[in-house]
């Protein structure tokens, strides 16, 4: 079955013919007995890695195993903020690699991922914030990553609904703005990669939960036991976000991860009012407006580890308190729905994209509260690492062993809060 391409002409034609004739955008194959490589986890990171394995490394005999439906994990639950203004050289290289891929992703995949570089503005509320943000601005500039300091009036000019009066609980003292940052459509990222990977021969297998990892006499990965039977492969990449610890434990690998609920919520849809993304790490709130008109609002993580994919209401209330102070216009909006995802947090808040002590087993995890922005870049270097059994220079610092050797990439300390 050949892939249907999208163009203005094909859309017009389908429109005129009442949208008949659209086919499924990817196959629903039965799992084969064996693959050259298997990715566990059908989120953006896993689907992207499968795509790059086929596209850039010529490994097309690949399966993506997803226990639910693709994009049903954090990929489909996140608030889609994309930026690369991280402090350390290692992080700047990784996240900016991703932003550069975002810029051409819709063309690359022939699928509109709706990447919208509308600018991400991070608010400073304390002297400490000002110092930290200015340090980020300078460090970013040294790394060729755009980030600029705004005074409160400039911040208000960039985002008119923002309240910069000095009589609120945490007045806005300035902001750091990354103009190349923005948002993208979360589902489209999963679907776009799935469709493009499928066209290159990748099998996307949903409702297929990995339940055990079989290893040979030498300890290397041999096969996966799943709810749809045993599937053999000598190369397995785990890209399972909040469930990474559970899967890696099947191969006896311990990781420095803890899984926390992270929540978000959306308002009723309104006319376009919010031109950018605003984040406030200090008071745990971030907000943007989706193309449907809903205000998309994110909170900080819940207090305790959990796998429930839900969190406590008071966490959302705390975030809404902050939103109402910063944007008094929004006080009367009704909130439509809220939800949670389970995020895998490392002690230094940087990811792990690496080989593991088990031959043939690779892991891409630890993205915590902020891995959507990294989807294309992370998938790209993870595929490289799996294909060549060797890290790409960009992900070489993001090992498991950094916790043993003391080479933390401490964005946690750099931001002083979850981010």
């Amino acid at each position: 079955m050949s892939r249907q391409n999208f163009s203005a002409l094909s859309l017009l034609w389908r429109g005129l013919s009442r949208h008949g004739g659209w086919r499924e955008q990817w196959r629903k194959p039965e799992p084969k007995a064996a693959y050259d490589a298997i990715i566990v986890g059908g989120g953006g990171h896993g689907l992207g890695a499968a795509y790059y394995l086929a596209k850039e490394h010529g490994i097309g005999n690949v399966a993506v195993l997803e226990k639910g439906w693709i994009g049903g994990g954090n990929t489909g639950r996140n608030t889609t903020i994309i930026r690369s203004n991280y402090l350390f050289n290692e992080s700047a290289a990784l996240y900016d690699h991703s932003v550069k891929l975002w810029e051409g992703l819709s063309q690359e995949l022939d699928y509109n991922v709706m990447f919208s570089p509308r600018g991400v503005m991070m608010l400073a509320h304390t002297v400490h914030d000002i110092q930290v943000f200015k340090r980020h601005v300078h460090a970013n500039r040294c790394n060729g990553v755009d980030n600029e300091w705004l005074e409160p009036e400039q911040a208000k000019a960039f985002c008119p609904p923002l309240n910069i009066s000095s009589d609120i609980r945490y007045p806005v003292l300035g902001a750091a703005l990354q103009r190349r940052g923005g948002t993208a459509r979360h589902d489209a990222v999963a679907w776009g990669y799935a469709r493009a990977a499928d066209a290159l021969g990748v099998d996307i297998i949903e409702n297929c939960e990995v339940t055990a990892i079989r290893r040979d006499a030498g300890g290397a990965v041999e096969a996966l036991e799943t709810t749809r039977g045993v599937i053999r492969s000598h190369k397995v990449g785990v890209s399972a976000a909040g469930h990474t610890s559970v899967i890696m434990a099947m191969a006896g690998v311990r990781l420095p991860l803890e899984s926390y609920p992270l929540q978000a919520l959306v308002s009723e849809p309104i006319k376009p009012i919010f031109p950018c993304v605003v984040m406030s790490n200090t008071i745990h709130a971030y907000i943007s407006q989706s193309d449907k008109g809903e205000l998309v609002i994110g909170a900080g993580t819940d207090a305790y580890t959990s796998y429930t994919q839900r969190g406590a209401l008071h966490i959302n209330m705390h975030t809404l308190d902050a939103i109402c102070e910063l944007f008094p216009n929004f006080r009367r909006l009704a909130m439509l729905r809220n939800w949670g995802g389970i995020v895998d947090v490392t002690p230094d808040r940087s990811p792990i994209i690496a080989k593991t002590p088990v031959p043939g087993l690779y892991v891409n995890c630890g993205w915590g509260t902020g891995g959507f922005k990294a989807t294309p870049g992370s998938a790209h270097v993870f595929a490289w690492t799996m294909a060549r059994d060797q890290a790409h220079p960009i992900n070489a610092p993001f090992t498991i062993e950094r916790f043993r050797d003391g080479y933390l990439i401490d964005e946690a300390a750099a931001a002083a809060v979850a981010h």
């Binding site: 469930h243 610890s245 559970v246 311990r254 990781l255 420095p256 991860l257 803890e258 899984s259 207090a303 305790y304 580890t305 959990s306 796998y307 429930t308 406590a312 209401l313 008071h314 002690p347 916790f403 043993r404 050797d405 003391g406």
Partner: protein, 101 residues
């Protein structure tokens, strides 16, 4: 919001408590004899259990005392709370997640 039973004060709402991570991680007796791998284990590696998890809590906005709890991380249901000088109650991992009462 969860209702948590402080072993000293009884049932209280979650916002009175702070979470202290995995319980029963003992500080090494002779730190100078530890190699880097053992230090990394102690400092960073966590069980991150899906199921019954032994963890520390502190009744920060109440009596101020630390205690331990067993909580099912698939439901957030607290199976038991106990004082830090008490041994961990022995509870089987449930085969199926137990719905909260």
């Amino acid at each position: 919001m969860l209702i948590i039973v402080c072993p000293f004060c009884g049932k209280r709402p979650e916002i009175e408590f702070t979470y202290g991570g995995q319980a029963h991680i003992t500080r090494p007796e002779r730190p100078s004899e530890l190699d880097d791998q053992a230090w990394a284990e102690f400092l960073y590696m966590r069980s991150n259990t899906k199921g019954i998890h032994a963890e520390r809590w502190r009744h920060a906005r109440g009596c101020g005392r630390f205690f331990n709890a067993l909580r099912d991380t698939t439901t957030d249901h607290f199976v038991a709370t106990y004082r830090i000088d008490e041994p961990q109650p022995q509870i089987e991992q449930p085969a199926e997640p137990v719905p909260p009462p």
